[in-house]
């Protein structure tokens, strides 16, 4: 990544910049030396962003468990990780939580986004404001509120209380992504379907939903990543034995550096990189596939 940053524009002479995209500094020759200085700073910031990730990945192959010095290549941390029953059971719990929460939220969030775009009703501003709350209120406050409420109504904690709590923020994020997509759509298509005799349900399922699909999918990916990443809300709403992956990781790393967690990090980095790539590809396709 850092290499593309240092790519100066002079290295791509095939596309001369058109006047309006000419950087302001180019018009002012005295400012020219500052360009390389700025690029250098940006390169350093890119290095800063990737340094921790690179360190984790590199040390997952380091023979020594506790020293920062390189003492030889090994795969023993990966072997140890693959035989770690607790990590796998935590991963299974996390996947159950994330997948269930995302599927439910995809339905609720999409319906909500369509409803908010379609209807005006008294209290709509309040409804809209509440739907933004999960994005604004700190996780710790949401976690506390959910735990206290579940205790107050006498609901016993389990894996499913995590799911219920995760649906709250998952549906908020999905609704926002779908709303953005909805705003770019052509409303005439659904009206045309209705004029041509489709029932509102048919128009929704066969005209609107396919158009919304890219937004729904990228919203779901975002919600999935957030759910898999959540530590606070899960640890407050988890019942006995319902340990998710972030909870398991947290309980191990708070007591220091663990080389098998380095190996887990390297694997998760690759997986999340692939997910990010998939999400961006979808977004890119949905943006170019629907020029409007």
């Amino acid at each position: 990544m850092t290499e593309t940053v240092r790519n100066d524009r002079s290295e791509s002479p095939d596309t001369p910049p058109s006047p309006e995209e000419l950087p302001p500094d180019m018009a002012n020759p005295s400012a020219k030396p500052s360009i390389s200085w700025q690029a250098l700073f940006v390169g350093a910031m890119f290095a800063f962003m990737y340094l921790p990730i690179a360190v984790l990945a590199a040390y997952s192959f380091n023979e020594s468990a506790y020293s920062a010095n390189w003492e030889g290549f090994t795969l023993q941390w990966y072997e140890r990780l693959l035989t770690d029953f607790r990590i796998f059971s935590a991963l299974k719990n996390s996947l159950i939580v994330a997948l269930t929460a995302v599927v439910v939220s995809a339905v609720l969030g999409t319906l909500m986004a369509v409803g908010l775009a379609r209807y005006r009703f008294p209290g709509k501003k309040l409804y809209l404001g509440i739907s933004y709350l999960p994005l604004i209120v700190p996780d710790i406050a949401i976690a506390v509120a959910t735990l206290v409420f579940l205790a107050a109504v006498g609901f016993s904690l389990s894996l499913w209380t995590i799911v219920a709590a995760h649906i709250v923020f998952c549906l908020a994020y999905i609704a926002i992504v779908v709303s953005t997509r909805l705003a770019d759509l052509d409303p005439n298509l659904e009206e045309a379907a209705l004029d041509l005799g489709a029932t509102p349900t048919q128009a929704f399922a066969q005209v609107l939903l396919p158009q919304l699909m890219p937004g729904i999918v990228s919203g779901c990916l975002l919600a999935f990543v957030l759910s898999m990443d959540d530590f606070l809300i899960a640890s407050f709403t988890a019942g006995a034995g319902a340990t998710t992956l972030p909870m398991e990781i947290f309980s191990r790393i708070r007591t220091g550096v663990k080389p098998d967690i380095n190996a887990l990090s390297a694997i998760l980095i690759v997986v999340s990189g692939l997910l990010a790539f998939a999400a961006e590809y979808l977004r890119y396709r949905s943006e170019t596939g629907n020029p409007k």
């Binding site: 593309t4 790519n7 910049p17 309006e20 995209e21 950087p23 302001p24 002012n28 500052s34 700025q38 700073f41 910031m45 890119f46 962003m49 921790p52 990730i53 984790l56 040390y59 969030g109 319906l111 909500m112 775009a117 379609r118 209807y119 005006r120 409804y127 509440i130 709350l133 604004i136 700190p138 996780d139 710790i140 406050a141 949401i142 509120a145 959910t146 206290v148 409420f149 205790a151 107050a152 709590a165 709250v168 549906l171 609704a175 759509l185 409303p187 209705l194 509102p200 530590f231 606070l232 407050f236 990781i249 947290f250 790393i253 708070r254 220091g256 967690i261 380095n262 990090s265 999340s272």
Partner: protein
Amino acid sequence: MSVSPPPFSSTSDLTPDATKPRWGTRWLGPLVLLGPAGLWLLLLLVLPTLVIFQLSLVPNIRPGDIVNPSGIDNYLLVFNPTNFRVIVRSLGLAVGTTLLCLGLGFPVAYWIAVLAPKRWRNLLLLGFILPLWTSSLLRTYAWITILRPTGVLNSILSTIGLPTLEILNRTPAVLVGMSYSFLPYMVLILYSSLEKLDRALLEASADLGATPPQTFWKITVPQALPGIAAGSLLVFITSLGDFIDPELLGGASSMTVARLIYNQFLGQTQNWGFGSALSVVLIFAVSLSIALLLKYGDSSATQR
């Protein structure tokens, strides 16, 4: 943060009446579309928040106790000197993180949005925010590996003959971790604001004899101000409520509001009423900073 005008508003009075003549079904559509999500948010977000408001008025409550609201003792506890220092430290860390993210993020966003070749911009921005997709716990954990006494930083320092640093479990480590965690958000928001920069104004300013610093402070910064305000607010409220970075990097000396709340519920000394009061104070602080932005900030600052 605002939802665009409803694209289907033209059908709002048409759909129910034209296809379903009976007025009773007018409410069916909104109910089916907005009911389930609304009910969920009401049950698991609005009601819980109201419950902690009530619980925050109960002193010394522990799980299983009978709820009997009786006063503001918990709030007096929040503002006793020890706990007040925790609040001040949290605010200080949040302000420090915001300034660091602004200082580090603005040049990056400016370079990507203005100076970088146009066809690389999206890819560069994507590359910068890509680490957000990896687990936040593990990214913070990586900083333990780097900053600990026998870590990467110190082995590099001692190799080149410099004195080693004791950073882990101190405030600087928390600032590094939080800035690292929230820098991508800042760059993302600043970028979307700087991308819309009116270049004609920049050129006019240069033509009229302004020096680059003058152009920067008088033309670029005012135009980017809504983005600066929105990005700063986002980083500020996120770092104010952050638990993972202070907990893992800060050690015993960096107790913050979020850590204190955590301890009231999942720690050694549980006190649900006090924890609820702290949460209410935290929610209030976040709401206050948003209200201040909406009141004094440019109204377009909240529109992303």
